[in-house]
Symmetry: C2
Subunit: 463 residues, 2 copies
């Protein structure tokens, strides 16, 4: 009598034949691939495939397509919205070993990389070339994952999100076919924009196996500044005025008084008060950087800023931005034994003051500890909400607060996600934002490219 083999077992046996021990069914490896840095309920994949080439990805997808087995791409595992949780088991496709820098064109300022390269690794590679890659989410994310979630960060106000910084992709489709999208030119009008279709598709349409990025020249001069305000509204008003004046700030980040207190403690930021604070950075020529900073200082002072501190040397600049970078950990450290979830609302800049003030009030009324940080030049802010680790009821209260803040943002013409993506946590808002017909178009694109629904099922769309 034959043994009945499950579809997943059939795929595992076939993949093991060419992947060898890079196909793992080890319990702790599967556990490490059961979710990201999110708070979803972990799910174990049937196996984890540590791929090293496009061809391996293609063969695995062709097999999964044939057998109807789910595939969940996994990069650095830093998703905050459940993207890497393999909710229908199957294969967790770990791309973190695909770390080659394949081609650097210094004259054209572009680079071709594999998806497992992180931004920090890329910038380390570029350091002596006079070039840098500006998109900087808070975590050590992989660039493939950043493409999949349409990530951004603190530099987006000046350099754009990853959407504006990708020239082209190599993508393995659900059935194993391999395509190239885009090209090497700065612009093109040559058919549907498949590059932008895959950017932000959250692994639901295919697997990104190469990325061609646009780079930028390291500016001649950089300086940072900090200014503090007695009210949130005054800080936000300063941001709006700076943006409307067209000052090309490279970064303009807001930390509310609770976040600032957390950062002062955690990062030993001396000389600052626990007040609503803006961190700014200016890029350009020496003269232009000076002029930009003076213009912002004049605006901020006019709107009631208390002090305007400069940081022109690299060391003080780095200390500041490291503190901003560690804001999440600083907030979590406020309450030992706690974890955090974070909202990702983005609103039109004219509604930013209302959105941030409402979020703060709603958070205070909830009784939960929270801090607000924001990429406010883009109208995007995060409310970090703390809950006791392992406390399911606390987690549910935190999510209820998250949803309340999102609803407020949507009512102000905003979106539930500026940069983290939909994943599992924001699916309920997708239809609300786009309406049923636009969502139907998204679904029809999904069906056209992944007819058997194997690519990252359970993400973006409900059911």
């Amino acid at each position: 009598m034959d043994t009945v083999t499950s579809p997943a077992d059939a795929v595992i046996a076939a993949v093991r034949a060419f992947l060898g021990d890079r196909l793992s069914t080890n319990a702790s490896v599967r556990e490490q691939h059961s979710r990201g840095e999110d708070t979803t309920t972990p799910t174990l994949p049937d196996a984890v495939a540590f791929v090293e080439t496009t061809e391996e990805v293609s063969r695995i997808l062709a097999l999964c397509h044939q057998h109807g087995v789910a595939v969940t791409p996994f990069g650095a595992g830093t998703s905050l919205e459940g993207h890497v949780n393999p909710v229908r088991a199957g294969i967790s496709l770990d791309l973190s070993r695909m770390k080659a820098v394949l081609e650097l064109n210094e004259e054209d300022m572009d680079v071709l990389i594999e998806p497992g390269v992180t931004r920090q690794e890329l910038n380390a590679f570029l350091r002596d070339k006079g070039l840098f890659f500006p998109v900087d989410p808070g975590s050590h994310a992989s660039i493939g994952g950043m493409c999949a979630t349409r990530a951004s960060g603190t530099n987006a106000v000046r350099y754009g999100t990853i959407r504006e910084n990708v020239l082209g992709l190599e993508v393995v489709l659900a059935d194993g076919r391999v395509i190239e999208t885009g090209g090497r030119t700065r612009k093109a009008s040559n058919g549907y924009d498949l590059t932008r279709l895959f950017i932000g598709s959250e692994g639901t349409l295919g697997v990104i196996t190469k990325v061609r990025l646009r780079l930028h020249g390291i500016p001649e001069a950089m300086s940072a500044a900090v200014c503090q305000f007695s009210t949130l509204a005054a800080a936000v008003e300063t941001v709006i005025t700076v943006m409307q004046t067209g000052i090309p700030v490279a970064r303009i980040e807001l930390l509310d008084e609770d976040q600032m207190e957390a950062c002062i403690r955690y990062s030993k930021l001396e000389g600052f008060a626990p007040l609503t604070t803006l961190f700014l950075e200016f890029h350009g020529s020496e003269a232009s950087v000076k002029e930009q900073a003076e213009s912002v200082e004049a605006i901020a002072t006019d709107l009631g800023a208390q002090g305007f501190t400069w940081a022109t040397d690299a060391e003080s600049r780095n200390r500041l931005w490291q503190a901003r970078h560690d804001a999440y950990w600083a907030a979590v450290a406020l309450k030992p034994g706690h974890r955090g979830i974070t909202t990702d609302v983005c609103v039109p800049i004219s509604r930013l003051a209302e959105a941030v003030v409402q979020a703060k009030e709603t958070a205070l009324a909830s009784g939960l500890t929270s801090c607000i940080v924001g990429h406010v030049g883009d109208g995007n802010f995060h409310c970090l909400i703390l809950f006791p680790e392992g406390d399911q009821e606390g987690l549910e209260r935190a999510w209820a607060l998250d949803r309340a803040i999102v609803a407020q943002g949507l009512a102000l013409g905003g979106t539930c996600s500026g940069e983290h993506g939909i994943g599992m946590g924001k699916r309920e808002f997708l239809e609300q934002e786009h309406g049923p017909e636009a969502l139907a178009v998204m679904r029809s694109v999904k069906v056209a490219l992944d007819p058997r629904g194997i690519m990252n099922p359970g993400k973006m769309f409900r059911n």
Copy 2:
């Protein structure tokens, strides 16, 4: 006995019932909608529908979908690649009367318009608000058409193409359903990027009925400069160095010696020689504009520029840019009784010198009169090729030269179209650029959104 009614007649009768005399079967109206500013063989539509509302568009598309009748969207009719030629007859959908500016948000610097508004009309509307819309193709194109062809122009090097300047769209799908894409925020990670899917889709996926654009503040200061070179290579080398240095030029345009001679004659540009020439523009604060111009002057002088002329007053600036804007007409005026076609190759900037020099040599060898102008900061240039009006054999020689120049551009890692689109004239290159699998993905998206193939058939794809 019943009269057999054709599908087109059935649609015409049904549309006339609600459009009245805005549905025209008049011969001269159909003739005006038989092609754009291209050299394709004109085709008459069965009727022209002058629509005024989204609802009318929706009803017409639903009828055409039901009866399998082709729909060819028509904006200002300025396409150079046959986009508005109704090759399968049916309905020419004229959107040029949809000219309302629906909503201006000065604080957020965005505007919601109907698709028939031209860039000149929009900028006239914005003049006293301190805002402008930068995307400026050479013609008086409609903004709906600019979205459909992923247009750009002289400002793209600084402000991006239309792709980077659209926040969202309203689109009527092939079957009449109406969707909204995008939103009001500067960035979002909230589902598939349907906005970018429709931008550059050349009317093959749906009809754009509203556009929400990102605007920019009119800079505090602007200045223009002209520098001339004895060789094409030196001019292009100057462009490459300026781009690599990261000087944020607003415009950097090249005119070869033949084009410059044409412009001197046509636009009475005094004080310039018929040499390869760069036209530049700088935007920013007074100090920054001065600094940018001085940096470019130093680079250009170093690379052998002969003279560097400044134009800081608005009148001389406008005269210069009007001359650049009229370059096409200046070239056509070189040979009375001639018309022109134009290539639209875009290459990585490191290959620009080769591409332009090769194009010039190939054009000279062909014996046809031609001029080169280019948005060279983006690696995009146009070779205007003249042929005697009405001379079919001359037109075919001109197209043969066009194809030879495109093939050279592709061999240098470029694309057949930087900004004009594929239409009918560049279809043969689409598969060559993307490969059969990527083209298959484009086709599967087309089938998913327009299963009956009524939307602008015969464009972008062959057969």
